[in-house]
């Protein structure tokens, strides 16, 4: 006991504390990497397998549908992975286990604790999306790819991941633990199917009302952005519009989510 100094004195730099918290998340994810893989890959994998491979092989979908589906599923992986990574644990941590308190009491501003959550969830989503590429090649045999579309591709993957994380921050701070099941099924399923991951948005012109509904789902712009980057021949929403809408959605959701985070963290 005597060997322990009474105080360490100086407050560490914010960057150092931020990195330590990030390191904790990386350490925990690394320790359960197979679980992480299963959690993020299974859903897009089966969607890709059934809609892209099985239905195509049986002749229920047209040639080329798999190529159209693939960018949409990458967008879905990015958005859903970061949303799940952030929202579920956050609801539990704030509402039940209080695990987050040790980080809230670290010498770091409360906003940075939220920022770390968003950054880490986005990183996980980017990794999950990258893993989907070899899986797509394995399942489909070939995937649409265009090196000239790479800058837009990368930008939209990153923005899609941030979008999901921001949405996760909003949900994670708004939802009470006893409502977690109902809220997530009410939000999750519609988000999954109105985000244009399974169909290109312009083709919905024949179904005008649904086109309007999907236009309200920011995930649509991630799906369309990736289509624009990988298969520009298919009609799509122009990439710059996608990027602008994504940025605006992220900004708005982060503003709401950060306020929610402060309200949960500080009375």
């Amino acid at each position: 006991m005597s060997a322990i100094a009474l105080t360490d004195g100086a407050t560490p730099s914010q960057a150092r504390v931020f990195l330590a918290v990030l390191q904790r998340d990386a350490y925990v994810t690394w320790g359960e990497f197979p679980v992480f893989l299963a959690q993020v890959i299974l859903q897009p994998f089966f969607l890709l397998f059934v809609f892209g491979k099985v239905l195509g092989s049986l002749g229920y979908t047209q040639n080329g549908y798999a190529g159209l589906l693939f960018p949409g599923l990458l967008a879905l992986t990015a958005v859903i992975t970061s949303m799940q990574t952030l929202a579920f644990p956050l609801v539990i941590e704030f509402g039940w286990t209080k695990e987050i308190e040790d980080r809230l009491l670290a010498p770091m501003s409360t906003g940075l604790v939220a920022a770390e959550k968003v950054l880490f969830a986005s990183l996980r989503a980017v990794i999950a999306t990258a893993i989907m590429i070899p899986i797509g090649i394995g399942v489909l045999g070939s995937i649409p790819w265009r090196w000239s579309g790479l800058p837009v591709f990368l930008a939209v993957v990153v923005l899609g991941s941030l979008l999901g994380a921001s949405l996760g921050l909003v949900l994670g701070t708004l939802v009470k633990p006893n409502r977690i099941n109902i809220v997530f099924s009410l939000v999750f399923t519609p988000l999954l199917f109105t985000g244009c991951s399974q169909y290109p948005w312009p083709s919905l012109a024949r179904l005008r009302w649904f086109q309007i509904v999907t236009a309200c789902n920011p995930m649509t712009y991630a799906s369309e952005g990736l289509r624009g980057a990988l298969i520009p021949a298919v009609p799509h929403i122009r990439p710059w519009i996608c990027i602008v809408v994504l940025l605006a959605s992220i900004g708005a959701l982060l503003a709401v989510g950060t306020r929610g985070f402060y309200r949960r963290a500080v009375d």
Binding site: P12, D102, P107, S109, T110
Partner: protein, 332 residues
Amino acid sequence: MDLVKRYPKSPVNAVDGVSFAVCPGEVFGLLGPNGAGKTTTVGVLTTRVVPTAGTATVAGVDVVRDPVRARSELAVIPQRSNLDRALSIRGNLIFHAAYHGVPARVRARRADELLDQFGLLERANVKPDMFSGGQSQRVMIARALMHAPTVLFLDEPSTGLDPAARLFLWDRLRELRDRGVTLVLTTHDMDEAAELADRVGIMDHGKLLALDTPEALMRSVPGGTTLELTTSAPDAATADRILAGLRTLAQVERVDRLGSEDGAVGSGAPAQDGAFRGGELRMRLYVSGDAPLLVAPAAAVLGQNGAGLSDVKLGIPTLEDVFIDLTGRALR
């Protein structure tokens, strides 16, 4: 200081103008019933509650203006475990230290020392899921000490602990005090406050009602310490002489004659009819000082009147009595 906290949608202030200072190295107890405002007060001091008005400093750092620096000076042991379930016990300690910028070399050594000291070494690599309340609390204290805080806040530390765990906790807390760590604990346990705290603040309805050492608080209860004597006297005149003699003793504030134990007047209550008809004589002395020291002089007074002492009872007030005296009711 002059701390006020009103929660939205609440008509009253949860903390209503509370002011106090805790000296470095002191053990300070905030005592009061649930809902008294203790936890909110500690919430402000630990940067988790923003006060509606007033200022507060911890180790000289303003918790409202510079919460980040304040957090590096303090540590909090909550009532319920908030350990990181994704990490082992050692992981909890190591990462906590990392959050506080403790260098990597120091972290590992300090973790080993604390795990050993808190009897946690053999379970160091276990995750805290299956830990009991007492074990979790030990881990949380060890974790808190990883960044060597100046001030340690404990919320209801012995609630839910078995007697052995409670004694272990008290021993550890005394060791911390001896090392100069300032301890602030909230409790509704009178024994704990009296046992551990150098000074106790009694709170109710958001106000600090009294603040002093447990001894001084207990002495402050009017006629707090009592001495009950039983003797026998042949007649009323002798009884009056005895009472008068006792009243002249130093430190005796008041002497009441009580009804006889088997008499019509209830035990312990002052006699109602005033007439003493000989036989057993019971008296209660309200004492300002140390009651046991008065037994011998009192016996001498009885002896001068030819009476012997047949029974002595000491009444020492507890913090519970202090609380009842201040609020007019028992702790909820």
